[in-house]
C-alpha cells in the first residue's frame, strides 16, 4: 500500500494553540481536520510536512448555529452533519445539495466544511503517484518547474474542485480566519485566487474557523448542479451554483458561479446581468447560460475533453437556473 511519509502529529489543545504551532513551525506544518484530502495527498508525496497540527480535538469548531443574521457553521463541522441539518436544507438548499454530492458517505463522515473549502487544487498531471510524476519530470506545483498542461503558463492551472466553494460565493458567505495577528473576515468571493499553487488569500499561518451565511431576503432561491461520471467518489468535472432573488416576479439580484473550470470558482457577472430586471423567462435563462458558456474556459487537466466540458457549461447552467426560476 502507499504509505504516509514520516511526520510528527501534534493535536491542538485550543485554537490559540493551533495558531501558535503554525506560527512556530511555519512552512514545515500543515493542519488536518478530517484528513480525507491531506492524507491521500501526503501518500502521493504531494505534501511532506514535518508537523501535522490536528484540529480534530477542537470540537467547539463543529456547529451549525442559526440566528436572525443568518447561519454560522464551524469549519470543523462534518459534511454529513451539514447535509443532514434541517436548517441548512430548508434555508440554504444549494449548500445542502453541494455537500450531499461530495465524494462518498464515508468521506463525508470524516471530511469537514473547512477542509472542503481548502481542498487542494487538482490536476491530471499533479494528482499522481511520486514515481509517475518523476517519470514525467514533475510539474511546477510540486517538485518541478513547468506546467505540464500549459507549458507556457507562468502559473499553475490546477483546478478548484470544491463543491461547496461556488455555492458559498453565490450565497455571499463570509469566511472567518484566525491567525497570529488576530481574527479577520473575508468574503468567500475574495478568498479564492486563480493560482493553482496559491489558491487562497489565507496565509499559511491562518486557520479557517467559521463560515457565515447571510440571512436571505424573501424570494431568494439557489441551486447547485454538478457534472461527474459516477454517483459517488468523483470530484466535479464541472459545477454551477446559482442564486437568484425575485421581487414581485422580477429578478433583482443574481449570482452565477462556476467551478472546476479554473483554479478558483469563476463568477459570471454577464450571466447575472442577463437575469436582473427580467421575469426569468426562458430567453433570459438561455442568455445567462450562454454567458456561463462564454465565461468558462476549461483546460485539459480533468476527465472529459475541453469541448465537452465547455458544452456542458451551458447545459448545467441552464439546469441550475431552471431549478431557481419561479414555477419550477
Amino acid at each position: 500500500m502507499l504509505r504516509l511519509p514520516p511526520f510528527a502529529y501534534h493535536p491542538a489543545a485550543s485554537l490559540e494553540d493551533a495558531v501558535g504551532m503554525l506560527a512556530r513551525y511555519g512552512w514545515r506544518a500543515l493542519v488536518v481536520s478530517g484528513g480525507t484530502d491531506l492524507f491521500a495527498n501526503m501518500k502521493q508525496r504531494l505534501f511532506t510536512p514535518e508537523v501535522v497540527v490536528g484540529l480534530r480535538p477542537l470540537r467547539e469548531l463543529s456547529y451549525v448555529r442559526a440566528s436572525e443574521g443568518g447561519v454560522a457553521i464551524g469549519a470543523l463541522t462534518t459534511l454529513t452533519h451539514i447535509a443532514e441539518d434541517p436548517v441548512i436544507e430548508s434555508r440554504y438548499p444549494a449548500l445542502h445539495e453541494a455537500v450531499s454530492v461530495i465524494s462518498t458517505p464515508q468521506l463525508r463522515n470524516m471530511g469537514t466544511l473547512g477542509g472542503n473549502i481548502c481542498l487542494d487544487t487538482r490536476c491530471n498531471y499533479y494528482n499522481q503517484d511520486y514515481d509517475w510524476r518523476r517519470a514525467l519530470g514533475f510539474c511546477m506545483k510540486k517538485d518541478g518547474q513547468v506546467c505540464r498542461v500549459a507549458p507556457k503558463s507562468p502559473t499553475c492551472v490546477a483546478v478548484n474542485s470544491s463543491d461547496s466553494a461556488p455555492v458559498l460565493i453565490a450565497y455571499g458567505a463570509t469566511l472567518r480566519l484566525a491567525g497570529p495577528e488576530g481574527r479577520r473576515e473575508v468574503p468567500a468571493a475574495e478568498f479564492f485566487r486563480n493560482d493553482g499553487m496559491r489558491p487562497w488569500c489565507k496565509r499559511p499561518d491562518e486557520i479557517l474557523t467559521e463560515v457565515r451565511l447571510p440571512a436571505l431576503p424573501a424570494g431568494t432561491r439557489a441551486a447547485y448542479r454538478k457534472l461527474r461520471l459516477r454517483n459517488a467518489i468523483d470530484f466535479p468535472i464541472l459545477g454551477v451554483a446559482v442564486m437568484l432573488q425575485v421581487e414581485a416576479g422580477v429578478c433583482v439580484r443574481a449570482r452565477v458561479v462556476l467551478n472546476a473550470v479554473a483554479s478558483k470558482p469563476v463568477e459570471v457577472p454577464d450571466a447575472a446581468a442577463a437575469l436582473v430586471g427580467t421575469d426569468l423567462n426562458p430567453r433570459a435563462l438561455d442568455e445567462a447560460a450562454d454567458a456561463a458558456y462564454a465565461a468558462g474556459k476549461p483546460l485539459d487537466n480533468t476527465s472529459g475533453s475541453i469541448p465537452y466540458r465547455k458544452r456542458m457549461l451551458r447545459v448545467f447552467a441552464r439546469r441550475a437556473l431552471a431549478a431557481c426560476a419561479p414555477g419550477s
Binding site: 500500500m1 502507499l2 504509505r3 491521500a40 462518498t104 491530471n124 494528482n127 499522481q128 503517484d129 514515481d131 509517475w132 518523476r134 517519470a135 514525467l136 457534472l227 461520471l229 459516477r230 454517483n231 459517488a232 467518489i233 468523483d234 476527465s303 472529459g304 475533453s305 469541448p307 465537452y308 458544452r311 456542458m312 447545459v315
Partner: protein, 780 residues
C-alpha cells in the same frame, strides 16, 4: 449422464446457505497476505522501468548494495537467464536487454525496512536508451513499425502459434463461402467497434511472503488463483525440487483472472533465495496498477449478410486485440472471440479471425471471460443493427436465427442442451420486452454462449470421531464462492449434514490435494467432481458401518441431520461421529476429477491455428437492460439489468446469484466507464479514484434468473458459472443505448461524452451540420 442425487431428491443441493467465509470477511477477521507477520521479515520493493520502451545498456547495483539495511538485490544479472514458460518464450523475470512497458520490473531489493528498500531502488543505476514506443494497434501494424521484440525470430514457441513481427497470435474459423454469400445477400451490414483496456478490479493488491527453509526448500504465502501450477513454474524456474516448494494460499481479496499468473511471488522468492530471513512484498495500489494483467483493448470489424426474410447468410469478422508487451496468456481472448462472434446463430458462411499484437503497454491477461465482454458487445450490437436493417424486432430476429438442439458450432461441434432460446425468452419477459418505453429510455437484449472447463482436482473428505466433517481441496477460494459455497453443499448433501458444519481446508500445496486453479469457470466443475467422488466414497463407508452397527439392510438406512438411522425409526441410529469411532476414529476417502474428453469436432478443417474450438458443457446466457439517456449530457443511467443464465444444475443458487449480480456490475463498468488511459509514461489512472469502477450508487436493480439444463459432463449436471454473467450485460446496455438514442454505440466504454457526441452527430446529420462544427470531426 448427470449423476443422480442420492436418496431420490435434493435436500441440500439447490438450497440457500451463507458461504463459509462470509462471517470472517465481514468481521474483518480474515487474514490476507498483507496481514501476515513474520518475525524478522525483510521488506521488498521493485524497481520498474519508467519508460514504455527502452534498451537497457547497463544495470549497476553496487551502490545500492552498500546502503544500510540492504540484504538482497535481484535483477537480470543474478537470476536465471531462461524465459518464462509461456507459449511464446518472449519474457524474462526481470527486463534484460529491453524494458517493454512502463512498469516492467527491472530489479527488486530486500532490506530491513521498506524505506531502506525504496532508498536502495533509487541507488540502482540503470542506463536506459529510450526508444520510440509502439502505443496502439495501428502503430503496431503499420508498415515499417518499430518492433516491440526486435529478436522475435529467435523465440521458441509452441506448435501452431503464430508469431510474425508485432503479431503474436492469430486464428481463423472458416465455413462455406463468405465472399459469395455476401455478394448474394439481400443486404450487408457492417459495424466497427473499439474497446478500451481495463483492469480485473480486485480490491486486494498482489502480495507475497517467501521464506527459504533449512532443507533448501522455499515456502511462499500468497493469494493466488492457481497456487499448484504457480509452484511448479517457480520451482522449475529456480531449479528447486518440487517437493520442497510449498505455496500456502491465504484469503484472497478478489482475483477475476488477474491472479492466475505469478506476480509478487516471483520477486519475493527471488530475494528470499538470497537471504536467510522471510521476504515480504506488498504491492501498492499504484504498483498493482502497473503490474496488472489487463482486459484486452482492441477493435472489431463485423460484416453480415442477411436475406430479405431475416435469415443470416454470412458473417465476416475480424478482431485485433492489444496484447501488450508480452504474449503471456493473452491469446485466449483472440481464440474465444472467434468462437463467440457468430454464436448462437445459425450462419452457413463464416470467415472469423482474430489477431493479437504486441505493443509497449501492460500485458493483457485472462480477465474474467477473456474476450467475452468485448466480442459479445460487438456481435450483439451488430445483430441489432442487422435486425434494424431488415426491420425486425431484436428478440424476434434472434429467435429466427438462433441455434436449436443438434445444431453445430462454428467449428462443427454438435450441440446438445441448447438453451439459447430459453434464456433469451426469459430475459425478454423479465424486462417487459415489447411494452412501451418513455422518451430517452431504451431496452436492449443480448445473448451468448460460453464453455465449462474441467481441470485436474483432488479432494479428501473425512468424518472424525468428534463428528466433524472435513474437506481438503486444492481449489483456492478467491472470492467466487465456488469453494466455500458449492463444495460444502456437495458434501453435506451426501453425508446428511449441513453445509455450515463442514470444515474446509483449501489450497495449501502441503496438503497434496492438487488443483489446477480458478479460471475458465472451472472451480465447481473440477473441484466439485473431486469432492463429489470422495463424499460418495465416505457415504458408502458410513453406510457399511451403519449396516453392522444397526443390523439393518443398507437400503433401509437413511442419512440425515448428522445421523445414520433406520428408515421409519429415527431413534434407531448412530451419529456420524459414532460411525467414525466404530470405523477406528475416522472415515475418509480421496477423490479426483474423472477423465472427461473434449467434445469432438465434425469439421476440424474449418480451423486455422485454433486450439480452443471444442467447448465442454457449453452454456447459454442472456441479459436485458433498461437505460435512461440524458440527451443533453449523454449520461447513461442503467435502471435495470436482467440476466438469465443456464447453469446446468444450480448447486449453490445463492452463490450463482452473487456471480450474476457481480458480473452485471463488472459489465456495467466495462460498458460505461472503465478505461485505462495511457499517457507518454504509461498508465495515467492506476488508482481507483481515477479508474472509474462503478460504485454501489451506480449499481442498478439486478434480477438474476437461474435456468437449469443439466450437463452430461459436470458434477451433478453443473456447468461453469463464473464467467458467462460478465459477457452479456454490457452488450445489453449497448443495445439499450442504441434504442434510447437511435445510434448504435461503437466505442466502449460509452462515456457520457461519447454518447453525447453520437447524439450531436445524428442531430447534425438530420438538422444543420454547422451546429457542431469542430466536435464532429472526431466522431466516426
Amino acid at each position: 449422464m448427470p449423476e443422480a442425487i442420492p436418496s431420490g431428491g435434493r435436500s441440500v443441493v439447490g438450497t440457500r446457505h451463507p458461504r463459509s467465509d462470509a462471517v470472517a470477511k465481514v468481521r474483518g477477521e480474515a487474514a490476507y497476505v498483507a496481514d501476515l507477520t513474520f518475525p524478522g521479515a525483510l521488506e521488498a520493493a521493485v524497481l520498474r522501468s519508467p519508460h514504455p520502451f527502452a534498451r537497457i545498456k547497463r544495470i549497476d547495483v553496487s551502490r545500492a548494495a552498500s546502503l544500510p539495511g540492504v540484504a538482497a538485490i535481484a535483477y537480470a544479472g543474478n537470476t536465471p537467464a531462461i524465459p518464462l514458460d509461456f507459449a511464446i518464450k518472449d519474457q524474462y523475470l526481470f527486463a534484460r536487454t529491453y524494458a517493454r512497458y512502463a512498469g516492467e520490473p527491472v530489479a527488486a531489493v530486500a532490506a530491513h525496512t521498506k524505506r531502506q528498500a525504496e532508498a536502495a531502488l533509487a541507488a540502482i543505476d540503470v542506463d536506459y536508451e529510450v526508444l520510440t514506443p509502439v502505443l496502439s494497434i495501428d502503430e503496431a501494424l503499420a508498415p515499417g513499425a518499430p518492433l516491440v521484440h526486435p529478436q522475435w525470430r529467435t523465440y521458441e514457441r509452441s506448435a501452431g502459434r503464430v508469431l510474425r513481427g508485432n503479431v503474436c497470435g492469430y486464428n481463423r474459423i472458416r465455413r462455406g463461402n463468405v465472399e459469395r454469400a455476401l455478394k448474394r445477400a439481400w443486404a450487408v451490414v457492417e459495424s466497427r467497434f473499439t474497446f478500451s483496456a481495463g483492469i480485473p478490479g480486485y480490491l486486494e493488491p498482489r502480495a507475497a511472503v517467501a521464506r527459504r527453509e533449512p532443507d533448501g526448500g522455499l515456502t511462499v504465502w500468497c493469494g493466488s488463483q492457481s497456487p499448484y501450477s504457480n509452484r511448479e513454474e517457480l520451482a522449475a524456474f529456480f531449479n528447486l525440487p518440487l517437493d520442497k516448494v510449498r505455496f500456502v494460499n491465504q484469503f484472497v481479496g478478489g482475483a477475476f483472472g488477474g491472479k492466475i499468473l505469478l506476480a509478487a511471488e516471483w520477486y519475493a522468492a527471488a530475494l528470499a533465495l538470497q537471504c536467510d530471513r522471510p521476504v515480504r512484498l506488498v504491492f501498492s495500489r499504484h504498483e498493482d496498477g502497473l503490474h496488472v494483467f489487463a482486459r484486452h483493448g482492441g477493435r472489431a470489424l463485423i460484416r453480415s449478410g442477411v436475406a430479405q426474410d431475416g435469415g443470416l447468410t454470412a458473417m465476416q469478422a475480424s478482431f485485433v486485440f492489444d496484447g501488450g508487451a508480452y504474449s503471456g496468456y493473452g491469446n485466449g481472448a483472440a481464440l474465444i472471440a472467434t468462437m463467440l462472434v457468430s454464436a448462437p446463430y445459425r450462419i452457413p458462411n463464416l470467415d472469423l479471425e482474430a489477431t493479437l499484437v504486441y505493443t509497449n503497454k501492460q500485458i493483457a491477461g485472462p480477465v474474467r471471460a477473456p474476450g467475452g465482454p468485448q466480442a459479445t458487445f460487438a456481435k450483439e450490437v451488430h445483430i441489432d443493427e442487422v435486425a434494424a436493417r431488415v426491420g425486425c424486432d431484436p428478440v424476434t430476429f434472434r429467435l429466427r436465427n438462433m441455434w436449436d438442439e443438434e445444431d453445430e458450432s462454428p467449428a462443427g461441434q454438435r450441440l446438445r442442451g441448447v438453451s439459447a432460446k430459453r434464456v433469451l425468452q426469459a430475459a425478454a419477459d423479465a424486462i417487459g420486452w415489447g411494452t412501451p418505453c418513455r422518451p430517452n429510455r431504451g431496452r436492449g437484449i443480448a445473448c451468448s454462449w460460453w464453455f465449462s472447463s474441467c481441470g485436474r482436482s483432488e479432494a479428501r473428505v473425512e468424518v472424525r470421531a468428534d463428528g466433524s466433517v472435513h474437506v481438503t481441496s486444492g481449489n483456492p477460494e478467491v472470492g467466487t464462492g465456488a469453494a466455500t459455497g458449492s463444495l460444502p453443499i456437495i458434501v453435506a448433501e451426501h453425508l446428511g449434514t449441513s453445509p455450515g458444519s463442514v470444515f474446509l481446508h483449501l489450497a495449501d500445496t502441503a496438503d497434496a490435494a492438487y488443483d489446477s486453479g480458478v479460471g475458465g469457470s472451472a472451480s465447481t466443475f473440477s473441484a466439485g467432481w473431486a469432492v463429489l467422488a470422495a463424499a460418495r466414497d465416505v457415504r458408502e463407508q458410513l453406510l457399511s458401518v451403519a449396516e453392522h452397527a444397526l443390523e439393518a439392510r443398507r437400503d433401509d438406512i437413511v442419512i440425515g441431520e448428522g445421523r445414520l438411522f433406520v428408515r421409519g425409526s429415527p431413534e434407531h441410529g448412530i451419529s456420524l461421529g459414532e460411525a467414525a469411532a466404530l470405523a477406528g476414529g475416522v472415515v475418509c476417502a480421496t477423490g479426483a476429477t474423472p477423465q472427461i474428453d473434449d467434445p469432438s469436432l465434425e469439421h476440424p478443417a474449418r480451423l486455422e491455428h485454433h486450439e480452443f474450438a471444442a467447448w465442454l458443457a457449453p452454456s447459454f446466457t442472456a441479459s436485458a437492460a433498461e437505460v435512461q439517456v440524458d440527451p443533453e449530457t449523454g449520461r447513461v443511467t442503467v435502471e435495470r439489468i436482467v440476466t438469465a443464465q443456464d447453469v446446468g444444475t444450480a448447486i449453490d443458487p445463492a452463490g450463482i446469484e452473487g456471480q450474476i449480480e457481480g458480473g452485471a456490475v463488472q459489465a456495467l463498468g466495462f460498458a460505461l466507464s472503465e478505461e485505462l488511459q495511457f499517457g507518454p509514461h504509461g498508465i495515467m489512472n492506476t488508482g481507483l479514484g481515477d479508474y472509474l469502477m462503478p460504485t454501489i450508487a451506480d449499481a442498478p436493480d439486478i434480477q438474476p434468473i437461474i435456468i437449469e439444463s443439466p450437463s452430461h459432463e459436470g458434477p451433478l449436471g453443473a456447468k461453469g458459472v463464473g464467467e458467462p454473467p460478465v459477457t452479456t450485460p454490457g452488450a445489453a446496455i449497448g443495445n439499450a443505448v442504441y434504442h434510447a438514442t437511435g445510434n448504435p454505440p461503437h466505442d466502449v466504454p460509452l462515456t457520457p461524452e461519447r454518447v453525447w457526441r453520437g447524439l450531436a452527430q445524428s442531430r447534425a446529420d438530420t438538422t444543420s451540420a454547422a451546429e457542431f462544427p469542430h466536435e464532429t470531426a472526431k466522431t466516426r
